[in-house]
């Protein structure tokens, strides 16, 4: 994990608002997230963490059907996003843990995501960092897949 390249002097104030959206509440992945809520909040102890009830999550999913099948969703709103870009829009990221079926893999992804946000929380543009990571992960993943394919051929 690389160190943040640029930082600015907003240290004590919360950087993110976290929202956990989960309409199912049953299954190994949601269970695992609940068991590790302490860890999640500990890593970002200055940032408010909101947990929607099952009913609130279901209502939200009904209103925004593009989210169906993706929950549990961890949505991180970047409170300083607009300060750095000057745009009066919402900034942030989402992690759709519902599309992962293996709880261990989901935990690994969640830890990686939270670690990434913690490392880059002082970055001016964390959205750019996310895009870079997405680009890099895609490239590394493709190489891994191709390497696997080549090994199978050998």
């Amino acid at each position: 994990m690389e160190a943040p390249t640029q930082s600015y002097s907003v240290k004590e104030l919360p950087r993110f608002q976290f929202f956990l959206i989960d309409s199912g509440w049953i299954g190994p992945v949601p269970e695992l997230i609940r068991q590790n809520l302490g860890m999640i909040t500990h890593l970002h102890n200055n940032d408010p963490f909101f947990i929607l009830s099952r009913e609130q999550s279901s209502e939200l999913l009904k209103k925004h059907p593009h989210l169906i099948g993706k929950d549990p969703i961890l949505l991180a709103r970047d409170l300083h996003g607009s300060k750095t870009t000057g745009a009066k829009e919402y900034h942030g990221f989402h992690l759709n843990l519902g599309i992962i079926k293996d709880p261990e893999k989901a935990m690994d992804v969640l830890q990686h995501f939270l670690n990434f946000l913690a490392v880059h929380r002082k970055s001016r543009s964390i959205e750019a960092k996310i895009r870079q990571q997405l680009h890099r992960d895609g490239f590394e993943g493709a190489i891994e897949v191709l390497r696997g394919g080549a090994e199978n051929l050998i």
Partner: protein, 64 residues
């Protein structure tokens, strides 16, 4: 004979490059489904979440 082997090598090269490109595209699509920055649709979700916070329907979680 040489030209035949060159054609075969080039064809395999093109196929390999196409496979890399396809795999990269698929991989990035899957990753974007898993995590990404908020898009236009998500911004409406955040607006609703904001309203819920504003009206006290959700409050910050406190670890016990």
């Amino acid at each position: 004979m040489n030209s035949v082997s060159e054609i075969i090598t080039s064809a395999f090269g093109i196929i390999l490059l196409a496979a890399v490109g396809y795999e990269l595209k698929q991989r990035r699509r899957r990753l974007r489904e898993l995590y990404n920055v908020l898009d236009a649709e998500d911004k409406h979700v955040v607006a609703d979440l904001d309203e819920m916070v504003k009206h006290g329907l959700i409050t910050p979680y406190i670890a016990h």
